[in-house]
Amino acid sequence: MRWYASPTARLIAGLAVTLASVAGFSWYALDQIAGLRALQTTAIDRNRRDSLQLLRIENNLNSIGLAMRDMVNGDEPYPLEAFRSQFARVRRDLDDALRLERSLAPESLSPSREHYFRQSLSQFWTSVDQMFALANTPHGDKQATELVRSSLEPQQEAMSATVARLLVENNLTEERAAARVQEIYRRVERDVYLFLAAALAAILATSLYLIYSNRRLFQRLEALSAQRSALARKLITMQEEMLRSISRELHDEFGQILTALGAMLARAEKKELPSGFREDLREIRSIAQEALDKTRGLSLALHPSILDEGGLEQAIDWYVPIFQKQTGIRVDYRKSGRGADIPDAVAIHVYRVLQEALNNVARHSGAATAQVRVEFAPSKLCLEVEDHGSGLPARPAAGARRGIGMVAMRERADLLHGVLAFDRPAEGGTRVRLDVPIIEEL
């Protein structure tokens, strides 16, 4: 027998390669996403939040600028001291914004510029305090206004310019980060296409190999099935030949011997013999006759000679009454058509199926009656055995041998290219139906 290698190992290898590549790519993608997220969180988002705080600082500086303009222009009907609470509020908001900004400022920004800004702001508030102190002195409003014009306004403008530059730097940092994000997207996009191509190739190769393996597997199954059928046919044929041979031997050889033995004993009986010996001889002859009857019965059981001599129809006609007699089950036997042209090779298997089916009725159905219908047609033969007993069990009882007889029936039907069917009639029980095509050369 030719050796066929199992495809499992190669398929597992293909699956492993596919899974490994998916896992590898997933890791790669997650790594890229994590990098992207880190970049967005640490750089872009932080940068934006920092810019928001810088805008808040700038807004506050502008607010101070506007207030100082009101002070210088004398737009409000209130003394300069009135602005103190406004400055205090802006200062609180500025301090809060600066505190937040310090925690968010990108590392790329110039520390010296930050330092310069904080120093400038500190100097500014010192000047503001001086200005309000001046404003609180008698006739100090004029000097305070002059201080605003000469010192505070230039300081405020310088600080606004610094914040504006920080915002520009932030924008540049954001643009650089955005460019890096775009680069990551481009790289990931390219790698996604590469991975998809590789994954498709791996899936294609595995699938092709799977198709090839499947085809080989089915071819092998077909060959095995054909071998098994041939073997079964050979076995059954051999079995039938052997049974026929044994039957003939029993009938012809042992039958003749026992018949001769009986005849000889009958002749001896007719001679003058002591009375006791005659009785013995009669008993021996009776035993010999019994042996002859049993031998003939066994011979018929192994292979009914009537099948060879009278054909299938006569064999069935002969067997059905014997079955009734042996089992006490009344059989309603009907036939139609003529069975004269049934080839011997078909007849023995049909006969064996009938035998097995009726034996099943006797053994398992518990039915008191059975029906046998045989339909002979020129091109086909149909045999039906039906009982209305307990029917086939849905599942065989635990430990029971799963229908060797039924398996044999199926094999015989296959040998005849026929169809064997088991079903449940409406009245219950079991119906076995065998349909066999009649082909001349078979």
Partner: protein, 552 residues
Amino acid sequence: MTRRDLLIAAPLAVAGASIEPSAGFHFTGVTAQAGIHFTHNSGAFGGKYLPETLGPGCAFFDYDADGWQDILLVNGTNWPGHHGPRSTLRLYRNNRDGTFTDVTRRAGLDIEMYGMGVAAGDFDNDGFPDLFITCVGQSRLFHNTGKGTFVDVTHSSGLAGHEGFSTSALWFDYNRDGLLDLFVCNYVKWSAAGDVYCTLDGKRKSYCTPEAYHGSTCWLFRNLGNGRFEDVTASSGIFDSSSKSLGVAMLDYDNDGWPDLFVANDTQPNKLYRNLRNGRFEDVAIEAGVAFSEDGKARAGMGVDAADFDNSGVTSLVVTNFENEMLGLYRLGRGGSFQDQAPGSNVGRLTRRSLGFGCFFFDADLDGLLDLLVVNGHIDSTVQGLETDARYQQPPHLLWNRGAAGFRDIASEVGAGFATPKVGRGAAFGDFDGDGDLDVLIATNQGPAYLYRNDLSNGNRSVRFRLRGTKSNRDGIGAVVRIQLNGQTRSRMVKSGSSYLSQSELPVTFGLGRSDRAERVTVAWPSGRFEEFKNVAAGSYDVVEGQGITKK
């Protein structure tokens, strides 16, 4: 559940579990049948002057002290050099039968001015509420003579010479001397001569946003008790020339018995002025978390109100803002700072697309939980041609407070016409028909006023208190009334101001639900006096400081 409740509930349950419960009240439009015939004149002639977009306000107040709420509707006028029909504010006297009579001329208020808002309070404690009308230009103080007429005392009171773009105002006794002081919001420094050219489409002039103008400080005037007021804006710490204020509400957020102020600013940080009890205020809005939105942005604050809407014992604030900004619903948390509840609740989602102005908490269905009315409307009619989903006229939101289930907007369910889109501005509430529930007055820009009568069908009852101070200011403004019902405490402050350019009635109303009485009523007067009344049945009462309670 009683057998009757069960009988009522059963058909509802069969009708379908998904059907929302009915609010149990209707707002019936009664403007014309009540005799209110008013159209606001913004003076718009095509010049797109900024003040045209913002008015007007309205008020429920009892000018003749007869116990029935009268109505005042503020009006603008034609700009100098532009002629049109004469327009003045309108005073409508309550006829006590569901109708009103226009008494503007008889009351001496038939005066042209570019009015914006109104604050009503009895500044001289004579028993009759006086009127402060905020204007573009010189605002006016009208003294109520008690004989059905008003006299302009702007000059004699010392309020003259304060010209600005004044918006909301309120009366309150910040120094607790028994005299009502006056707080006035100013928007921006604007004049017709200095009007800035802005355009949305690059072709036609449109209304500018406030960024185009310099801010303007609010004013605080101390009542000297002799009919005169002193400008204490600077000395009280209120002065801030960057403010662009539109709404103001009084509250006592730190529960120290001294009235604080919340001021809504447009594109500038809101202000929370904490009363330092020494005549000075300190702005603590940033520390308290109400200066900006949750994302740190100064929004376009318009209207404002303060109340304990969830009966938790702490004050919450509502601030209406521009479209896409959603309203702010700030609830005071532990540590004295507020958290905006709107972004995390459906309040934010419901109001995000609206441009809100007037707003107030009131118990519309008298179930004991304060509901919220917000009136909306865009500032420029040309917006509809520029933005696909923005509308000039917008429906109001009536956010029905369902306790733990949150708010639900039922504006479209409480009566035909209530949810009709309007260019809403001022809004006020008051029980004009004396049936114990709260009716609503809405003023619209360049349009009519709307009076809605509350027709309650849920069988809920109320208890109402009109306070009269003796040592405290006569209106009892600043007094806190609390009732206990079923182990729960509910509180209301007698207050002027709130909403937008408007004033609601001074009597406080508590919904009792199906209960027929409050177990305990306490009044904390601004003078420091504390009074307690037990087992107060549903109905309307007069409470006179130190003299007990009388059922009307």
